[in-house]
């Protein structure tokens, strides 16, 4: 593998346009990464609107049916109800995992895109690795999504179906590409300073980039503080309550006390809601913060007017703050806060689409220049 990078400038200050060459590794990872994040967010939005609450209601109803069957002394119905709960939980879990992994791989793709000039490989090798990464990054979430529908059909294994196997293979591909990138970086760090190729992308200090960097770090810190507060104050309390409420249900069933069972069921539903909103607020604040920091580095590639770049940066940060705050407020204000949280998510998606279009416009310019100069398209 050669450590040379065709077209990469070695002069400080010179804009390194060829680093974003048509179908180049950095461009593949940048556009593929933002695409993964966008699709992951849309999957998350659709899941939140069409599946999450309906699924939670079904889980609650099945648990209620199981508890009532226990009061009635009908153990067969209890088992049947729990089998239904298992199906609903698997449906929910796989959709959450699809959403989370798609976005996480999108972040990783963007990071690898930034690091491309530092990976001391030839462009052809980097491009192959980028394709391997992107293939795995799409295969895993699609496989996870299909787990609920494919199940164990035609599977040679007892507990793992074909969809799971495909998902695990996707994860393996992502790992292989990431390990290769690590090796390339290690090689780069071993090179002498004057042999290293410079990358002008990181020298950008535009206002939009600064807004995103500062805002992103603030969001990450807010998410950290909220997580630490939740772990210190609520986590163990919630875990203890989970057990005591279930015990209350079984004790009520043994004592044939339907009132006790129903009271515990009501509190159990509320507890589930409290846990879910706290975890969602913590995770979303940090993830949106990371996204803002990542996008800060790509601002030189966003071909939009400076004023519009700033506006989209603020829209993204506003939406990123609105969503976790309103998710937390859902406990007190219900669907109203939930609706506003969805608007926050939509603002993030819109700002991301705007930046993605800006990057496509920029790459279009490079493509036109390359074609006019008679270079390799």
């Amino acid at each position: 593998m050669s450590s040379s990078q065709p077209g990469t400038s070695t002069q400080a200050g010179a804009r390194n346009d060829t680093a974003f060459a048509p179908m180049g590794a950095r461009r593949l990872l940048a556009l593929g990464g933002i695409g993964l994040i966008l699709v992951g967010m849309l999957v998350g939005d659709m899941f939140a609107v069409f599946v999450l609450h309906q699924n939670a209601a079904k889980v609650g109803a099945s648990l209620t049916a199981a508890a009532h069957a226990a009061v009635a002394g009908d153990s067969k119905s209890v088992l049947a109800s729990f089998q239904t709960v298992g199906g609903f939980l698997e449906n929910r879990g796989t959709k959450v995992d699809t959403h989370v992994h798609m976005i996480a791989f999108g972040y990783l793709a963007l990071m690898l895109a930034i690091l491309q000039p530092w990976a001391a490989f030839s462009e052809a090798t980097k491009k192959r690795l980028a394709w391997i990464f992107l293939f795995g990054a799409w295969l895993l979430p699609v496989g996870v999504f299909l787990i609920h529908y494919v199940g164990l059909a035609y599977s040679p294994l007892e507990a793992i179906g074909w969809a799971s196997i495909a998902a695990d293979f996707g994860g393996l591909l992502v790992m292989v590409a990431s390990v290769a990138c690590l090796l390339g970086l290690g090689k780069w760090f071993q090179q002498k300073e004057n042999q290293r190729l410079r990358d002008d992308l990181l020298d950008d200090h535009s206002p939009a980039g600064r807004i995103l960097l500062a805002g992103g770090l603030t969001l990450v810190l807010l998410g950290f503080f909220h997580g630490a507060y939740y772990a210190a104050v609520d986590l163990y309390k919630h875990e203890a309550m989970d057990f005591s409420l279930l015990s209350q249900m079984t004790a009520g069933a043994v004592a044939n006390d339907m009132g006790m069972v129903d009271s515990a069921l009501g509190q159990y539903g509320q507890l589930g809601g409290e846990k879910a909103v706290n975890i969602a607020a913590h995770a979303h604040a940090i993830e949106f913060g990371l996204l803002a920091i990542l996008l800060a580095f790509f601002q030189p590639y966003v071909r939009l007017q400076e004023a519009w770049k700033r506006r989209w940066a603020w829209v993204l940060l506003f939406g990123s703050l609105l969503l976790p705050v309103c998710v937390l407020l859902e406990l007190n204000y219900g669907l109203l806060a939930g609706g506003i949280a969805d608007v926050g998510g939509l603002l993030v998606v819109i700002a991301l689409v705007a930046m993605w279009i800006g990057i496509v416009r920029y790459t279009g310019e490079i493509d036109a220049t390359t074609t006019n100069a008679g270079g390799t398209p």
Partner: protein, 163 residues
């Protein structure tokens, strides 16, 4: 020489690989079985209650509690290891914008990397012991991460002023 950037980027990618490897191992060898056992013990608890066997019901729910406790932490370890790794890589990439001496940057980077390893490790150890040592490890790890990120934020703010 080890620089803050090198430490964060290589350490971050290594942590991400650790988190991915752990997640893959867990998904293949433990997760399905653990989820099956969680559902099974919960169902057993309610079935025992239906048959008016309170002792068995209590035992099954206690088993559910232990399994759920471990499952939540396994998933948290996977998520936090990778999430923190991504943050480390990003901070490494942005290192030029931190207006501190290389020594302070290296100190902050070491704190962030150590915290990012210790915090998930503390959570993982909680699956083996419910004592205060694993919790303490997780608290120390998270405090290190928060303090280091706050330090880097200060460094970015100084860069903004100086430029």
């Amino acid at each position: 020489m080890v620089t803050a950037r090198k430490l964060l980027i290589l350490g971050g990618i290594a942590s991400a690989l650790l988190g991915m490897g752990y997640g893959m191992w867990y998904a293949i060898f433990l997760e399905h079985q653990e989820l099956g056992s969680i559902g099974g013990s919960l169902a057993a608890g309610f079935s025992a209650a239906a048959e008016r066997h309170p002792v068995e019901a209590d035992a099954a729910l206690k088993q559910y509690k232990e399994l759920k406790y471990a499952y939540d932490r396994h998933v948290d370890v996977h998520g936090h290891w990778i999430g923190l790794a991504m943050l480390l890589i990003l901070l490494g990439i942005a290192m030029d914008r931190v207006e501190f001496s290389e020594r302070i940057k290296l100190f902050l980077a070491a704190g962030a990397l150590l915290g990012s390893l210790l915090f998930p490790l503390g959570v993982l150890f909680q699956t083996f012991s419910h004592g205060s040592a694993p919790r303490g490890l997780a608290v120390v790890g998270s405090a290190l991460v928060i303090a280091s990120v706050a330090g880097f934020t200060l460094g970015f703010a100084r860069e903004r002023k100086s430029s």
